[in-house]
Amino acid sequence: MLNSFEAKYFDGKSSLPQQIKVAFQNDILGLQLQISRDEKINWSLTDLRFERFGNLVEIRNQNYADAILKVENAAFAEEFYSAMKRERRVDIHTRLMGLGLLKISGIALGLLGLIVGAYFYILPPIAEKSAALLPESFDDKIGNVFIENYLEKVEVDTARSMQLEEFASQLKLKNRKSLRFTVVKSEEINAFALPNGHIVVFSGILDNMESADELAALLGHEVTHVNARHSTKMLCRNLAGYMLVSLLFSDVNGVMAVLAENAQQLHSLSYSRNFEQEADEQGLRILVDNHVDPRGMIQLFERLEKDNGVSIPKIISTHPLTEDRKAHMEEMIGTMDYQVVSNPKLVSIFKELTN
């Protein structure tokens, strides 16, 4: 036999290895196995599967159940591999592995970089835009689900809630949906807005306020979160982010977990800096439109800053740096043309609310 190689053959019937010779058969595009002096079998390349361990090749034939042909020879391994490649009998995984560890790692790293870039720069705007596809009723639904659970767990100050409603009714808040206001008894210096238009203010923040302007600023800020659908946008963004991550790690269950978790923590959903800035700016416009002193916004920030030592208020920790926000407000007020008209009704409600 020309160009034949020593091989070990297991016939799939017994575990006893047989020493045989094997040669390439170009006319049938395959291998010829010389089992014994009189017994020859032909294996066509199209029936074969193989595994290569360095110079060792283990070949199996789909028509010969579990028979194995083992050849340990560098020349054979090369020739066999290229023949299989020509016949397109090498799967994509094996071909990629053939590139070498360095190249594969490079490709993977480059791809990872692209994905990370997309995660931070491409995904957020797309996700936020896609929030517009969700109907407003979605905002109402998740807000309702949250508030029902939430109000069971906390103590509501009914009298103050009504006063706060009255305070808000004195202001034009540019709201597109009806708003509800609830005062919750808590030391926490915080307030949050739910996508269904329910705004929760803690008694802690009210007790610390000194002017009606500040409260108006707070409401202006929170209302903007509702008007601009910030919660829904953040939800879409978090979900899209998680979907990308779960695609990376092939994990499907996580998506549902994120949805559940975000719905659970609707009140502490941290908005992006852009959203906070938008809420500050629109809040400021609301103050100006209502002829309330826009410096109420700055007072609000200072208040929050001062109280920092007592307990870390969430409104600060999750919001952009207070100094930056203050400076931005100062700058905006400087360029604005505004008129402050005293509003005795607003002040008197505020006094009742904070006495």
């Binding site: 297991f10 016939d11 799939g12 019937k13 017994s14 575990s15 006893l16 194995i68 993977a108």
Partner: protein
């Protein structure tokens, strides 16, 4: 070399279990798996799994001959689809129960029952599939357990576990292991396992308390004892020829394996896991000795070919390690 049966009958044989896998090769496989899974939106997953298994089996050798995993991604993909269909069906029935009866308790009860009922199916199916796709020297492994028998016993053992507040759990585990391992075949070679719940219970009770008293240090001895209990009770027989397995693992060995693997994984942000996995596999092979007189040149094909990958993925879903 041909030896007559009488000659080889009581002739002591040598067995050498080895693992050749390299972290860098395995890492390459994982990366390519990751790339292909990403580009196919996750659909490559079963194929990726097949590649991983093929590598690990192919790098494990007994007396210089490698093991072989012949399962394919296509088979496992079918199994995966079946598992999904099963889940959908279960959730559908759950939904009906919830909406018709208006009581979540029955629905949740049904979910638990469905999970428990699936477990023996999953154990049976995965063993049957995995072993039928495992071969060595061209001879297939096989699993001959009976699904009905396993299911009935399993439910009985689960019931005992519940009424003994979990204590019977030790017997449950050992009974399953005994049943499943005693039904493994390699050609004419029959496997067996003779561990029992009582020993297992005391081993773990002792391990648990000593680990607490020694602030965790005993954990490595505990781990060694668990490993030894699995291996030392494993044996194979072919007629009156036998192989007995024995563990060589030491607490120090486990300490080194686990601590280094931990550091390898943590300090490389998880990338070192490929190397850690290979170290584990090598540790297992290096610490199992086989002694006996079964001639591995004289095994004949006995197991029928089998096609069904249902359990393979069901078990993967529940993350149960049966190895």
């Amino acid at each position: 070399m041909e030896t007559s049966i009488t000659e080889s009958l009581k002739q002591k044989q040598t067995y050498r279990l080895e693992f050749f896998g390299q972290g860098s090769d395995y890492f390459g496989i994982m990366i390519v798996n990751w790339l292909l899974t990403l580009f196919t939106f996750g659909f490559y997953y079963p194929w990726a799994r097949a590649k991983r298994l093929k590598y690990v089996y192919g790098q494990t050798a007994l007396n210089d001959e490698r093991f072989h995993f012949s399962g394919t991604g296509k088979e496992m993909f079918r199994g995966f689809i079946k598992v999904i269909l099963f889940y959908v069906a279960v959730l559908f029935i759950y939904g009906i129960i919830i909406s018709v009866l208006q009581t979540p308790i029955f629905g949740i009860l049904f979910l638990y029952l469905a999970m428990f009922a699936l477990l023996p199916f999953a154990i049976h199916g995965s063993l049957k599939y995995r072993l039928s796709r495992t071969s060595y020297r061209g001879i297939r492994f096989g699993y001959r357990g009976d699904r009905k028998e396993l299911t009935q016993n399993f439910l009985k053992w689960v019931f005992f576990t519940i009424i003994t507040f979990g204590i019977y759990g030790a017997w449950l585990l050992m009974n399953i292991r005994r049943y499943t391992q005693s039904n493994i075949r390699y050609g004419e070679v029959e496997f067996s396992y003779d561990g029992n719940g009582g020993d297992w219970f005391w081993l773990n009770l002792k391990g648990y308390f000593l680990t607490i008293f020694t602030l965790g240090i005993y954990a490595f001895w505990w781990q060694r004892n668990i490993f030894a209990y699995f291996i030392d009770h494993m044996a194979m027989a072919k007629g009156d020829q036998k192989i007995q397995c024995r563990s060589l693992a030491t607490a120090g060995g486990f300490f080194e394996l686990l601590v280094v693997n931990f550091l390898l994984t943590i300090f490389t942000l998880g990338f070192g896991k490929a190397w850690a996995d290979m170290r584990t596999q090598r540790f297992l092979c290096d610490n199992i000795v086989m002694e006996g007189d079964i001639n591995i040149d004289e095994i004949h094909q006995t197991e029928e070919e089998y096609t069904n990958a249902f359990g393979e993925d069901a078990v993967d879903f529940f993350e149960i390690d049966l190895a």
